[in-house]
């Protein structure tokens, strides 16, 4: 099952040096989960051939413009391109008011249902549970209410060991039951334990998205051990005071989060406009947590 994330925007606050405000396209089994939607996200999707028609869910972390100002344009384009399929939007409550006001004055009635699900920005909750994943909010600590999102793959069905089942002439109609872990009761009365006929499916993977936030241990337990952590790293650590003042994290701190939480891999992003090149930030985070990569726009990370 496909489970990867493509970086669409990597800049904090203002776009610069060809870096755009935050957005990521998570592909889970060929359905897209868009995470944040800064200005220009639809243009970035065109550039990197990420098909906006495949978006089923949109997650907005908070109401700073660099995380949602591309949303109206994207919704409008989907509408004009004839979309009929619903979209579910998870976002802080007031975003609904902003969307409704803009649609009202443009006299637009979307051709597709937009299901708005206001996020609770005070306590984490499971906001989505479908056949592929569950999504929980992560309560971050920013200047305004802000949540991250934790995407946990569901455990897939067990895998049939075909040589075994074929040798036993297990009827095909029994396969779905075996995949669910039930033993095989043969016509001759013999019981074959499920573990002899099937193997475990792959370990479910998890992706945690944390932007924007000051360094705060409150969510460390929730994201412990995830396969991939995206964490903001707006500044280098010599700007720690500025990071604290603006409720952001430094690259060193992001590396520490990854290390303390025992994640498998870290991506850092949300780079301040003060950094033309990003080596300094990468090296700083990697000095604490070596398996770190930069959120380069257009790159896809397999989770």
């Amino acid at each position: 099952m496909r489970f990867d994330v493509t970086i669409l925007g990597s800049s904090s606050a203002t776009p610069i040096y060809n870096r755009n405000p935050t957005a990521q396209a998570l592909n889970i089994n060929e359905r897209l989960y868009l995470i944040d939607c800064g200005e220009g996200t639809q243009q970035q999707m065109l550039r990197f051939d990420v098909k906006s028609s495949r978006i089923d869910y949109i997650f907005i972390s908070h109401l700073h413009g660099d995380h949602y100002l591309g949303l109206l344009g994207l919704l409008s384009s989907l509408h004009l391109n004839g979309r009929k399929k619903p979209i579910t939007l998870f976002a802080p409550p007031h975003l609904k008011e902003i969307i409704d006001l803009q649609l009202k004055y443009s006299q637009t009635e979307l051709h597709f249902p937009l299901h708005f699900h206001p996020t609770n920005t005070v306590a984490p909750e499971v906001i989505l549970d479908n056949q592929d994943i569950t999504v929980e909010t992560i309560i971050l600590d920013h200047r305004i209410p802000c949540t991250g999102f934790l995407f946990r793959q569901k455990r897939r069905l067990r895998k049939i060991i075909k040589e075994k089942t074929e040798a036993l002439d297990v009827p095909l109609s029994y396969y779905p039951i075996l995949k669910r872990g039930v033993d095989y009761f043969a016509p001759d009365g013999t019981t074959y334990p499920n573990v002899e006929l099937t193997t475990n499916s792959e370990e479910p993977k998890a992706y945690a998205y944390c932007s924007d936030t000051i360094y705060n241990e409150s969510y460390f337990k929730q994201i412990a051990g995830v396969d991939l952590l995206y964490h903001e790293a707006t500044f280098a650590n010599d700007m720690l005071d500025r990071a604290n003042e603006t409720y952001h994290t430094t690259a060193l701190q992001a590396g520490e989060v990854a290390k303390i939480c025992g994640v498998k891999k870290l991506i850092i992003g949300h780079f301040s406009a003060r950094y033309k090149t990003l080596n300094e930030l990468l090296e700083e985070a990697a000095s604490v947590f070596p398996n770190t990569e930069l959120a380069i726009e257009g790159r896809t990370f397999i989770i």
Copy 2:
């Protein structure tokens, strides 16, 4: 005096083929007048090295997203980059409500004064009169209230013929008076008519911006004879029905507007996503009005 316009966006409704929603930067004497501000305008300004710090005025034609969704991001970036100088914003009245709501929920108080001037979308009016130009609204005919903008350079002061004034030993302190057309009264009592000592300044130029509108003669008189006309040409003329239905103009009609109004040059833009290449639209408009050019992003047209 510099008087030119740089195309920042040329697409209608949805961005596609590297074309972005509408925006233009008018440079008048090194001050920028931004006309419309579709999503990604600030990124386009960075790409084409058009300095957003020089913007003094912003003009929004109407409240369809492809004409204003880049505004909040741009204002926010100017704010974060430390701007203190005021900006005057001319736009349909409801834009104020949209801006205020978004600033409220992002808890942003702009560091610079934003003077909002609601446009009258029913009757044309002079909305700006400064040392360089006057700006009038043009009442367009679109699905929602929409105005174009007519920028008229002011006549500059007369030019001194230095050989003449120096031969007569005209004191330098008299020059500003001569430039204003007053005769020279020499100390010996002789009167030298102004026309003998000065020449006319250049003819003031005019630029008319017309987007979005159905073909409608109501504003033809107002834009008659302008030096440069930007007119939307969303469709080719085989899509005339669709153009009428959506209150847009065809390329053929845009050429006719230019011809009937006796303008000197026409730029067409606001191209529908159905046109990957634009030759068809250019040829169609030029078949009626030969001096037509395409609104290519990054191109600067001297007025």
